[in-house]
Symmetry: D2
Subunit: 263 residues, 4 copies
């Protein structure tokens, strides 16, 4: 969007960094865990496996437990409204988040990138919400005719959205600081802050739970069960997906090949 003119200590950004802190296991581990059924081992071999064909089989037939003998640990910074959705994942997820009761939140706020689809389509429905980018929404009129003034119109709405987010955040944060300075409970002073305030959380999960998360929080038209996630949580999910792909390439490929259904 535009270059935001905000006081210098404020940070407005659409970046929601996801960092892999640590992980346990790899594709081999999934196979060894599965083989416990028929030939349990009590020591992890030091030599990599050369045959991981069991993994697509496990994925296809939804034998999920072998994927649980792994761990992935992330530090993620995202707006509160993303955490509101993220924390609804209860099974196989552990969380520790920045506290607004015990610490002072920084003036760090989310604003969307220019290309975020943000205008409702004409036949918009809850459940499968679809949105157009500003260009898509403004460059043609309802009859499909080109609108020569679309850029100005788009920019005006873009500025409105951005101004709203920035002005509320700045105003709210000033009042937050004012109340903190008066020794008001930080857990009360923060009540003025908007849900686009950024917050950092540690997330520890396993390969099974994270694939379930990815299946629900990414949109793939070819998935067996198509999801319509919030734009921002998908941005976070896609970064997580890259780490999953790197750390568990065979399991990840099997997940993609079998319709992105978590095992």
């Amino acid at each position: 969007m535009r270059t935001v003119v905000a006081p210098p200590e404020f940070n407005f950004t659409h970046e929601m960094p996801v960092v892999l802190l640590d992980w346990m296991g790899n594709d081999d581990r999934v196979v060894y865990a599965a083989r416990t059924s028929t030939s349990p081992i009590s020591e992890l071999p030091s030599v990599p496996m050369d045959d991981l064909k069991l993994i697509p089989y496990l994925m296809k037939h939804r034998h999920g437990t072998p994927f649980e003998h792994t761990a992935l640990q992330f530090a993620i910074t995202a707006p509160i409204f993303v955490w509101r959705e993220f924390h609804r994942h209860r099974i196989g997820f552990s969380y520790n988040e920045e506290s607004a009761r015990y610490s002072v939140l920084k003036p760090n706020f989310y604003i969307p990138p220019a290309g975020r689809p943000m205008i409702k389509v004409d036949n918009w429905k809850p459940g499968r919400p679809k949105f157009l980018t500003l260009e898509e929404a403004f460059s043609t009129d309802k009859d499909g005719a080109y609108n020569p003034f679309w850029e100005a119109e788009a920019r005006q709405l873009e500025a409105t959205i951005e101004d709203n987010l920035v002005e509320i955040a700045v105003d709210a944060y000033r009042r937050y600081q004012e109340m903190l300075a008066a020794d008001v409970d930080p857990g009360l002073a923060r009540d003025v802050l908007p849900v686009n305030t950024m917050s950092t959380c540690w997330v520890t999960c396993n390969l099974r739970s994270v694939l379930h998360f990815l299946s629900l929080r990414t949109h793939e038209p070819t998935a067996t069960f198509v999801s319509y996630p919030l734009y921002e949580i998908e941005v976070v999910a896609r970064q997580i997906e890259e780490y999953v792909k790197d750390a568990f390439p065979v399991s990840y490929e099997a997940f993609v090949n079998h319709g992105r259904v978590a095992p």
Copy 2:
């Protein structure tokens, strides 16, 4: 606090109503579930038990599973910052909440009651945060001498807090409506709204999980493990506690008598 002067369609309140929608089981059920160990039954007797002494025993020795064969279902309206804490209860809790992506949030906001302890004590520490009411904080000075002007000073801070909450909420909600009117994604337009926006959620749990919730979200100086919850989540928890007491009086009494440690 003061009578709030806000536009008529706005609702500012410290009420966070908790309604019991339904429940399953009673104290007898806990005993029958426990007796499965030694004399399982396959039909629930129609006559109430006259001896529930097993319940304090189960509670004291932390035999928790019999308490799970029950259910409690609530509809709760509370600010987003309360839900942020509530949803961290993962085990034995099911949730469905109002959606800001699929519906328009109402101009319904939380403001604290006048008596809420809200000023940090001098030696305030995270982990065991303590707060004074405005009267406690302002009626005496640091040396304990009476401050004859305390009421005016307290009212001024009270007004500041309330004005901050009201003004941000009204301003943010106006901008929210403006963006919705321009067909902006409701899941983006709501990013301006403050965390004291009210939201309704259905919560289904069981007697074991709800006692765990109560042990963490209420402050009792005599509890075996003393918690220091946020004021507002305790107000919600205390309402839940009343329903627990009514529906499972013997289990509740045993919980209280054994240091409010969930089984």
Copy 3:
């Protein structure tokens, strides 16, 4: 199978009774829970809904949480080897089972019914195990020719299986009693008992968790993800399925129509 000749106090049976003890909610409840997203209610209407079309939609798109605001409670008697599989269902399941440490197990043992498919097919594979009934296995030879002696051969194997189960159970139970009479720890004396010893367990779950159980523990060739469960756990699962069908007919129909994939 044959009429078992066992000491009179012994009970050999293929019956694994499942009794619904209690439940909470119905199809309407699922819809109201889902509608919390857009129009939360704080009181359950007393009038039944006339439009439950939302349920197939939720099932198809795997919106699972609304199905959790329900409960089903069962008393089930089944052999230990069935419980070994059942108790692996961790999420949304609560258990209390007969204890062999605190009580004396009854001489109640499982033997299979005559029609149980029990002979491995020629190209038998773990993962998708298939079995023939004794009639199917013995009535023709490998080339498909009719075997006129098949009944005698089948009966002989049938008798062997049954004799094995009965003789071990009777012998083991006598030794169990002998050790108990000598004041041996019941939790040690029971170590001789076979895994077909019957045990009763209370199981409390919700509509979402029970549908997940049904999807894994029943075999339906037309299911989206075909399972190959153990015969005996499927017998238990099919009884549970009847109760689910009765208590939540619309949800159940949607489950069946959408490939028996739990939401």
Copy 4:
């Protein structure tokens, strides 16, 4: 106990080996996870912490979530009756176990060591079961007088117990093999096997869930909540405890010092 005379391919043992396969994190990790509340980091420091005093504080006040950002992975061989109890730990535990449906169980059976307390005390009660060793039970009579024949009497009962376990196991396993040879479903043939048949299982948990397991499956008279576990699961638990102590010494010490109450 006596030297068991069993066919050579049989293995009777009281050994229940527990092997740590892998783990993630250490005491430092717990502290960093906890500090996310006030000063989140996005990279794990390479230098060990010199101040871990936060850990006893977290343990004492039952701040449990920081302990979840860790993992421990074990391969454990134990009798079926131990797994029956172990698998009841649902939260924060993942399992994959040897299958009696897809593989042939080995003739590997549990028999107790000579020193196992195995005779009920006079005032034995379920819930807090206590047992005497054979020496304790037989060396004095009810009035406390020395019994000069105690060794012979103790050995006779010891032999009875052992013979029962060995004879049933050998007989049952022979029948199991006979049925397998006739192509009977392995998931049916195994129905004769006793619950002291050994089975190997992979167990993945985290520091919080494993401490909860230890608090319930070990007996310490000085614990805040005293448990009375089965002898054999405690033998397994004590081996797990050694690994926990090695991998997380500060957390382990805090657990012990605070009454062995899991956080």
